[in-house]
């Protein structure tokens, strides 16, 4: 009898701990998910035609979005690249691309969303780009 009670308390303890643990994670996790899923929609509408469903790009014509190192080193410049487009030569995964990416008329929130999606898909994993961060980065565009 005593054993059952101890066992019961033990189980209850585990449950409570799990609940606390998951709820702790939630806030951040839910926020990330919100950015990510909105970003996925922005991606489908504004990026996917050229960069592909899996961010694979198009051979020598359009660079892929799978270069985690590039995305990391240029993290603060990404918002401006999306907003104002890119012209000229760019080296992605040791391959030189030359062409023009047109500007995208997106709000800072949409840019934060889509950058969160891109930098956490296609084999990339670098956390959320927040609205605040995107706004700061956009303020520094050339």
């Amino acid at each position: 009898m005593k054993l059952t009670i101890t066992g019961g308390i033990g189980a209850l303890f585990v449950l409570v701990m799990m609940a606390i643990f998951t709820s702790c994670q939630s806030d951040e996790q839910i926020e990330f998910q919100r950015y990510y899923s909105s970003g996925s929609l922005v991606y489908q509408t504004h990026c996917q035609n050229c960069h592909g469903v899996h961010g694979e790009g198009l051979l020598g014509l359009i660079p892929p979005l799978t270069d985690s190192v590039f995305l990391k080193t240029n993290r603060k410049a990404l918002a401006c690249m999306v907003k104002h487009g890119v012209k000229g030569k760019i080296t992605i995964k040791n391959k030189v691309f030359e062409g023009t990416m047109p500007p995208n008329d997106l709000s800072p929130v949409e840019i934060a969303n889509v950058l969160t999606y891109i930098t956490n898909s296609f084999g990339n994993k670098s956390g959320a780009v927040t609205n605040e961060q995107a706004a700061i980065d956009l303020g520094k565009c050339h």
Binding site: N49, L58, L59, G60, L61
Partner: protein, 217 residues
């Protein structure tokens, strides 16, 4: 025993279905019935709309006319190299057609530029290189702007026009038009939809299997 007979009947029926599925593709465009006298007998025939003679330059600087297309099945589309909207996805899908038939003699792809001013032979060659397209299966063609537009609208039945307000400066439809060995339109597929382009790849097989009947004249 009865059961077995039943199964055999079903199998036969299914087999028959399969035999009957020798699919053909419709012939599109205007048609005109004609009657003529052959060996003293009056026969009626149909003249189908065909693609008229063309004269364009490909990415290698070679002159291309309908002589180069005699007896060939081909897929035509209209694009421009600086197109920011639907072209990349069209080319991604067209690459599937290219990869499916690049080693066959009688299938070609013709991509006409609707911006011949910018898309010179050199630009088209660079574009082909970037798409890793080589050889003579897929031609990127440059010609006079008015002729290209006429050809698109009157003959391939695809709408294109210049429009400074559209992304990239042109409006155009992303259709892939399937032309048979006799220059007749046999299908039009939305080049931005992978499933439609898969159907195109299948339909080319039907055209390849088509016997060379009497020329429709």
């Amino acid at each position: 025993m009865k059961k077995i007979a039943g199964i055999i009947a079903i199998v036969l029926a299914l087999g028959a279905c399969k035999l009957n599925s020798n699919k053909t593709l419709p012939i599109y465009g205007n048609r005109e019935p004609v009657t003529k006298v052959v060996n003293g007998q009056t026969v009626s025939d149909t003249i189908y709309q065909t693609i008229p003679p063309i004269k364009f330059i490909n990415q290698y600087g070679d002159s291309i006319s309908n002589k180069n297309l005699d007896g060939k099945i081909y897929v035509a589309d209209f694009f421009f190299t600086t197109c920011p909207s639907i072209c990349p996805i069209m080319q991604r899908n067209m690459l599937n057609v290219y990869n499916a038939y690049k080693n066959t003699e009688d299938v070609k792809i013709l991509s006409y530029t609707i911006d011949p001013k910018h898309d010179s032979v050199k630009v088209l060659k660079q574009y082909a290189d970037k798409l890793e397209v080589s050889g003579n299966m897929w031609w990127f063609l440059q010609g006079k702007k008015e002729e290209t537009y006429q050809l698109a609208e009157k003959n391939y039945l695809v709408a294109v026009k210049s429009d400074s307000t559209a992304a990239g400066g042109f409006i155009h439809q992303g259709y892939f038009v399937l032309i048979d060995k006799k220059s007749r339109i046999r299908g039009a597929y939305d080049g931005t939809q992978a499933n439609e382009v898969n159907k195109l790849i299948e339909d080319i097989k039907i055209l390849k299997a088509e016997k060379d009947e009497q020329p429709a004249k």
